[in-house]
Symmetry: C2
Subunit: 639 residues, 2 copies
């Protein structure tokens, strides 16, 4: 009998001692980080509302209870009963029964009403029908991404369960080494912005944190070939953690599966969906630009199939000696700070991912309270000594001025923006400004994947800022549904119409002008001196956005592939900072200064060379911490 089976036997014994007599336990298994308990008495199990919580706390495991398949009520009967339990206002749009696990997936417009106070309605469902409910939200704006992901996971349910079972056994394997150390190896993202990739390693475990590309330098990928990474064999990685879906953190996650990786990706549910959206687009863009994409869409599906979504604050075992907790990072939808608790009290490391410390319109500010943190790996995008940004309030004023000016001249406002994050932030600003009459009502055209990304945002309102979430819950106040927002889905023809038409605002990808429909908009509007190009986000070195920002006025034209021609930029260029998804220098310092507990060591990464050096030096002098500005391919040992 393997150690894992022995452990399961012990756990089963503990459970039997804990549950009231008369509740049978037919099986206990691991599925990913969760412990799954099968019972022939699901209804009785559900009666004791506190039982699962007690078991979870005793076993220090996340627990799912499932009915034994042969005690399940027939789906047709169950469907009727479930619908009678759930209040009509919940807006159930789909019920999907899975006999293999006894789960019923309930898709509803208002999932909260399906769950009930402290889960009361869910428990009632189980008591009535035996099936275990799983609740998901019906996207208020139709999202093909969300739908595709859900359909795909439904279709792959069986294989996914095998994968989860295998991962579960891996996570709960016996520790093999008496040795103790904690290391971080940098595979990218050091003294540069892009190709985020780090390895956290102990004698037992190796975890890859992020695996991104480098915008504007597609050849510079993380150093995956070194023995610390996949050079030692793809199966030597235990887990991958993805902090958020931006391509400089996620683009090469699917590539891992092409290289033979077959383990879990831990991230939030919205990050999973956004990763699907953005990586598929990444493949599209590469193909359009005549580059050979490093992997195909099949690998994106592998990545989604291997994703284990976790919620903010949930402590999750990801290996025998590492527990992962994700915390809100305030940067984009689902963005996380990844906190690793290593070796039962030995050491704690937090990776900031990309953070925004203050609240924005979209998100609550980044969490900086942790049970313990000895080392912080901190993004430094705006870590330079002069990287102070305008307050968002002032920025909004400036943006409105720019819009009003341009409107008066009869020009158009073209805003390159990341589909994910900045676009929605700007949408909220524009919606309010028009509602309050600060700027004239005019169409706001959303091009590229912005519409789709917005739909994903409204699917996961729990991940949005408190008051925004509450507004979305009251359906009539969902600002993303405002009528001035128009989804550009008619291609070049529609763009031409918009360009020929009255003043309007256009938000278009890519955010750093490295491809996508923004290239087409520049062609349409670049020659118009009355129109305005407005940068609202960080432009990385090597991108066309950065060059234009620096005064470059020759724009490649020709829509994609054959960019042999250039055109002269005549439109005005303006940068309105303050909308960045990144904390500025002050925000980064505040994040660290108020961090509780204060870390002993800080590794400054994800910034230009001078930014990481400046921030590292400032944190050292002001807060007397040991700080580092690592290079790529270094390994730091902490214990």
């Amino acid at each position: 009998m393997s150690r894992v089976d022995k452990k399961l036997e012990e756990i089963e014994e503990t459970i039997r001692n804990e549950v009231p007599a008369g509740i049978s336990i037919s099986d206990v298994t691991f599925e990913g980080p969760e412990l799954v308990i099968y019972t022939r008495d699901p209804k009785q199990f559900a009666q004791d509302g506190d039982l699962v919580r007690r078991l979870a706390s005793k076993l220090r495991k996340r627990i799912t209870v499932r009915p034994d398949p042969d005690v399940l009520m027939r789906p047709d009967d169950a469907r009727e009963q479930i619908q009678s339990v759930i209040p009509e206002e919940a807006g159930v749009t789909d019920l999907d029964f899975h006999a293999d696990t006894g789960e019923v997936v309930i898709e509803a417009e208002k999932p909260g009403l399906v769950i009930g106070r402290h889960g009361a309605t869910m428990r009632e469902i189980t008591q009535e029908v035996g099936w275990t409910p799983e609740v998901v939200r019906t996207p208020p704006i139709e999202s093909s991404t969300v739908q595709n992901v859900r359909n795909f996971l439904k279709q792959e349910r069986e294989e996914r369960r095998d994968i989860l079972e295998r991962i579960g056994r891996q996570i709960h394997r016996e520790e093999m080494s008496d040795d103790q150390w904690v290391r971080i190896t940098t595979l990218g993202c050091c003294r540069e912005v892009g190709r985020a990739a780090f390895i956290v390693s102990t004698p037992e475990t190796r975890v890859l944190v992020d695996c991104g590309d480098k915008p504007g330098a597609e050849g510079e990928v993380p150093y995956l070939q070194v023995p610390e990474a996949l050079g030692a064999g793809a199966s030597s990685l235990d887990a991958v953690v993805l902090t958020h879906a931006h391509l400089d953190h996620s683009a090469l996650i699917p590539l891992l599966f092409k290289y033979g990786y077959d383990g879990p990706i831990y991230t939030t549910e919205p990050t999973r969906d956004l990763m699907g959206l953005l990586t598929l687009d990444y493949l599209d863009v590469a193909a359009k630009e005549g580059r050979t994409p490093p992997y195909d869409s099949e690998m994106v599906r592998e990545a989604i199939k291997h994703t284990i979504p976790i919620e903010y604050g949930d402590v999750t075992d990801i290996s025998p000696d590492i527990k992962l907790t994700l915390h809100n990072a305030g940067h984009i939808l689902g963005s996380s700070i990844a906190h690793f608790h290593i070796g039962d009290g030995l050491y704690n490391v937090a990776f900031s991912g990309d953070i925004h410390y203050e609240d924005t319109r979209l998100f609550n500010g980044a969490v900086n309270e942790f049970p313990r943190v000895e080392t912080l790996v901190l993004e430094s995008t705006y870590g330079g000594r002069n990287d102070y940004q305008t307050d968002q309030e002032d920025s909004e004023e400036k943006l409105k001025e720019v819009i009003n000016d341009t409107y008066e001249k009869g020009g158009k406002i073209l805003i390159p923006a990341f589909a994910v994050g900045r676009s929605q932030e700007i949408m909220l600003v524009l919606e309010e400004a028009m509602r309050k009459g600060d700027i004239p009502e005019m169409p706001v055209h959303l091009d590229g994947m912005i519409w789709e990304a917005t739909a994903i945002h409204t699917t996961y309102p729990e991940y949005l800022r408190d008051d925004l979430r509450d507004r979305i819950f009251h359906e009539d106040e969902n600002p993303f549904l405002a009528e001035q927002f128009n989804h550009i889905d008619g291609g070049e023809e529609e763009r031409q119409e918009v360009a020929d038409d009255d003043p309007a605002i256009i938000l278009s990808t890519s955010g750093m002008v490295t491809g996508g429909p923004i290239m087409s908009w520049l062609e349409h509007l670049g020659g118009d001196p009355d129109s305005k190009l407005v940068f609202v986000g960080y432009q990385a070195q090597g991108t066309l956005g950065r060059r234009i920002q620096n005064g470059w006025d020759e724009i490649p034209v020709g829509n994609g592939t054959g960019r042999s021609n250039t055109m002269k930029m005549r439109m005005d260029v303006e940068t309105v900072d303050g909308f960045s998804g990144h904390a500025d220098r002050q925000g980064l310092e505040n994040f660290v200064k108020t961090m509780n507990p204060r870390p002993e060591k800080v590794l400054c990464v994800h910034g230009d060379e001078s930014s990481v050096q400046d921030l590292s030096s400032a944190l050292y002098h002001e807060y007397n911490m040991r700080t580092f500005a690592p290079k790529n391919l270094e390994t730091f040992r902490f214990i």
Copy 2:
């Protein structure tokens, strides 16, 4: 056609253009780092004394010329002719013909006379008989190690040639990466003395430098299991470089072959033989102490078979982008500083190994002139702020005093010493002191492997200090042949006799009192208050030697396995420093201060925590270099 074959074809073309018409080239191959040219006209080839040098300089390769097998003179005829060419005083003791390579190995008491001025006699031999001579020294003191190694290599000649050919093709493979970086990973020996092991890596190449054990802590071995080392597969290492034969640098070299390593070990010829001696003894000691040795003697033979000996100063290609040069380190016989020239001018790293900067009686001081060095990895054994040692002259005076005092009391002088290095240094002191009448003539008993190690020293006088080498060349002055030296080869009985007999000096292994015959001598003499235990070398933390030095007076007795009893030490304990094979603090500083060129960065390793910190901080403040005191399992990137 592979790239290597293509390269060989180009080289053959170059050679054909360079050699005079009428000299045929029948084949060109790589054997390890050397280029081997086969010719049907070996005699003509040898006539032009400068031809090989010209080719070597043009091709930037080490070159060996061999006769095509089918033009070889019959060995019996060749033997006679060779003997007529070599002067009788050379003292030829063996001629060994190898038809497969056309080589004749000539063993002689005076190899210099076989070689002739600038190789004239060697060339004459080839001109006469066609065979290529290879010259080795007949050990002046019979050495079973040297004999065994030579016999073994003779026996394995064919397999060895296959190995060398494979290695040769590996070394000369095409470079695969456009990337550039240079890293050092620490696998041991950081903030501790013992388990030396480092990895030098570039995108092309990974080289392991040393692989030792930790005296007094046998469980603490280098971190070979991590992916940076063998965790990525044994074949991912390109080469192993061994700085010297002491077990804290060499003990686990054979283990690499058990783990599947199948590549070259670069080191000096005496280090190869000493490694054989010491690792076999290491296995013996482990077995005697009831520990399971980590490998068996077959693996020692594998290590010897895979060794490619190189001489001080020879620049050797060990991979497509790394050239290795060994330089005298002044520490023990054959000890080297390993200098890596990386990427054709990109970067240079030197590993000091263990060094002694001043001349000693045995060795010239460590070399510290290099064409270029950006980073120095520096031993710090005596790097602590107070680690100043007595001048050797004063130390010798003190040793003589101690000996005279003890002699007068009728006691015996027991000196624990490393078999290799310190023993021979002390032997030279004692021989001179007796010859000059500074101490009374009395027997000097050599126990453990000291005798055998001394024999190896006399086999390689080229590696000894200039004037000592010259004395040995004049056979009557070989100080190691002085008659007072007695090899203890009669076991316990002889030891009992010596213990019961008149005053004498005993040098015995192990040097740190961690096992070996010294344990037996302590049992014999430990209770005698008139006798004296004299430490002349470094005692590492955790060793019994260090404990005794610190005043511990309970000695485990019982000869090896069942050490349940202890005895009370009554013999005096004295430490006479200044004989160490290690530079003291001043020597380390002088080594760095006068180093030419001065390195930009120094990694202080191979010392107790306080020693590396002290040295690192002192070098930083005094010479304004970037200095580090790495931990094990860190990776530093330089380019």
